[in-house]
């Protein structure tokens, strides 16, 4: 199996895990949804800075760098 295929499998597994967590959060409520977890992470100044910095880095890295 090529390195590209292995990488794709790894990232696909991460996406599948995120979808599973989101579904679990919406159906049973035992897990927070991604939106609720992200918003909760922004309750503190440090968390707000981390989340917004991460979002800004994603844009610069993937769209412009």
């Amino acid at each position: 199996m090529s390195g590209r295929a292995v990488s794709l499998l790894g990232f696909a597994a991460l996406i599948a895990a995120a979808v599973a967590l989101e579904v679990a959060g919406r159906r049973r409520g035992r897990v927070a949804t991604a939106g609720h977890a992200l918003a909760a992470a922004m309750r503190t100044t440090g968390g707000r800075v981390a989340v917004l910095s991460g979002w800004l880095w994603v844009g610069v890295h993937f769209l412009a760098r």
Binding site: V6, S7, V51
Partner: protein, 130 residues
């Protein structure tokens, strides 16, 4: 400033977002105009979110957020592994060919801006209120 009443803010955001998207689509990756457009628009949104204390009044999730921390750790670990192993492709390696197309780049830019707008409109408190 109350975000729900800030129609002017939304109009300015839409205009800035449209301009940013057009520049990113037209100039592409590794270009100074695209870097300036993304960095300036992103910085403006981030500063707005910090000024408005976005998320300060969001509901706590407690232990229900732990699985997402685990997911984030796994994602960082996998990306780090792909960076260290020369045979594996990083997320950037996989996405760069896709983002080479202007339409895909434009769609990704709009999605990124929409995510930023969502983040800065999480429940917060204006300056001066406790």
């Amino acid at each position: 400033m109350v975000l729900s009443q800030g129609w002017a803010w939304w109009a300015a955001l839409a205009a800035a977002g449209a301009a940013c998207t057009v520049v990113v689509m037209a100039y592409g990756e590794l270009s100074a105009p695209a870097l300036a457009a993304v960095a300036l628009t992103g910085a403006a949104l981030a500063v707005a979110g910090l000024t408005w204390r976005a998320g300060r009044a969001a509901a706590p999730v407690g232990w229900r957020g732990i699985p997402w921390l685990g997911w984030l750790a796994a994602a960082i670990a996998w990306e780090a592994l792909t960076l260290l192993d020369e045979d594996l492709w990083t997320l950037s390696d996989l996405l760069d060919p896709v983002l080479a197309h202007p339409a895909a780049r434009g769609a990704a830019t709009l999605g990124w801006l929409a995510t930023g707008a969502w983040l800065v409109t999480r429940p917060g408190q204006p300056d001066g209120e406790q």
